[in-house]
């Protein structure tokens, strides 16, 4: 995977099971909520940051290191895949 793509949050994991940024932007625009692809990415990453922050707290990450750890986590496709898999389990009532 291209490291630059990875670091800017454009890494697309094939296993996320949902829509890409462009598709989401198009869907929201079609719903009367025009939004650019990069804004979709920004909202997505800011949401993931909040989730990653909670995960860090749960894992006992040192508070001084949380911000740095969260930034690393949200760009990591493995973290995104694990969130996706857990959310799917939750939506199926397994968790």
């Amino acid at each position: 995977m291209n490291s630059e793509t990875f670091q800017h949050g454009y890494a697309t994991s094939a296993n996320l099971g949902g829509a890409g940024y462009v598709e989401i932007a198009n869907r929201l625009a079609a719903d009367g909520d025009p939004i650019s692809m990069s804004s979709v990415r920004n909202f997505y990453l800011s949401g993931l940051r909040k989730i990653a922050h909670e995960v860090c707290l749960t894992q006992g990450v040192d508070k001084r290191e949380i911000c740095e750890t969260v930034d690393k986590m949200v760009f990591d496709p493995r973290f995104q895949e694990s969130i996706s898999s857990t959310l799917n389990s939750m939506s199926m009532g397994d968790l």
Binding site: A19, Y21, K50
Partner: protein, 258 residues
């Protein structure tokens, strides 16, 4: 029940532990301190009894047995508790206690009395199987037995599965060995419950963190994340996935400018 009453009184004497006390006791238990182990068990007996009480409403299940099994579950939890993982002891112990209680309930369920007619059918099926194999030299299939007895294959299958006898895990693993020194089935069957429970708790902990994270998302962030992960059933559903008032005002202002 008077024994139970005295147990309840006894249990009430031990105060609940703080998290720090739990960790301290767990550390001592690791170093083989028997008194700490006893204190950990005694201080959590209320939890074991309260779980047993929840299951005691099931008809045909003896409350004394449930308390006994839940206590065994509690002891297992005390012996296996790993304070480094950061779980509260009661969270960890609840899994073990429930597992122990469910096991005894399943065992009692397997000794359900069948109606006389069903028992007779099971007996006839076993008899037919023996006679068939004696006559033809091969074991009959379930369909063949059902055909001989003129009964439905599915029903017969269910009855045969249900009526299988159970073996105690405490029974010797080898028939010819000395009963006292022989390893039991429990000794030789590999257990996976430790791993399962830890994995389950890690998953549950991760899921709880995600739930908490989700509760902090703005509606727009949630909508985008749901779409990204394929969780939104209907992207046009603005009732379940609305944008916030601020976002709506910004959009309206933008629209007015255009």
């Amino acid at each position: 029940m008077s024994d139970m009453n005295s147990l309840f009184r006894e249990v009430g004497r031990f105060p609940l532990l703080t998290r720090e006390e739990e960790v301290s006791l767990a550390q001592k238990i690791e170093n083989g301190d028997k008194d700490s182990r006893d204190r950990m068990i005694q201080s959590n007996m209320r939890l074991a009894i309260s779980i047993a009480r929840k299951y005691s409403r099931t008809p045909g299940v003896d409350f004394d047995d449930l308390v006994q099994e839940s206590t065994i579950g509690l002891i297992r939890a005390v012996d296996r508790f790993d304070w480094r993982r950061g779980f509260k002891f009661s969270t960890y112990a609840t899994w073990w206690i429930k597992q122990a209680v469910r096991q005894i309930m399943n065992m009692q369920a397997s000794s359900i009395r069948f109606p006389a007619g069903v028992n007779a059918l099971i007996w006839r099926a076993r008899r037919a199987s023996i006679e068939f194999s004696q006559e033809f030299g091969v074991q009959p299939t379930l369909a063949e037995i059902a055909d001989i007895l003129k009964v439905d294959v599915k029903s017969l299958n269910v009855l045969m599965q249900t009526s299988r006898y159970t073996m105690s895990l405490d029974s010797p693993a080898m028939n010819n060995s000395d009963e006292d020194s022989s390893p039991t089935l429990a000794d030789v069957i590999p257990g996976t419950s430790d791993v399962e429970i830890n994995e389950m708790m890690d998953r549950e902990r991760f899921a709880s963190a995600i739930r908490r994270g989700f509760s902090k998302l703005t509606d727009r962030e949630e909508k985008i994340i749901r779409l990204r992960f394929g969780l939104s059933e209907d992207p046009n559903d603005h009732i379940n996935y609305p944008i916030t008032h601020d976002e709506l005002s910004a959009l309206q202002a933008k629209k007015e400018k255009v």
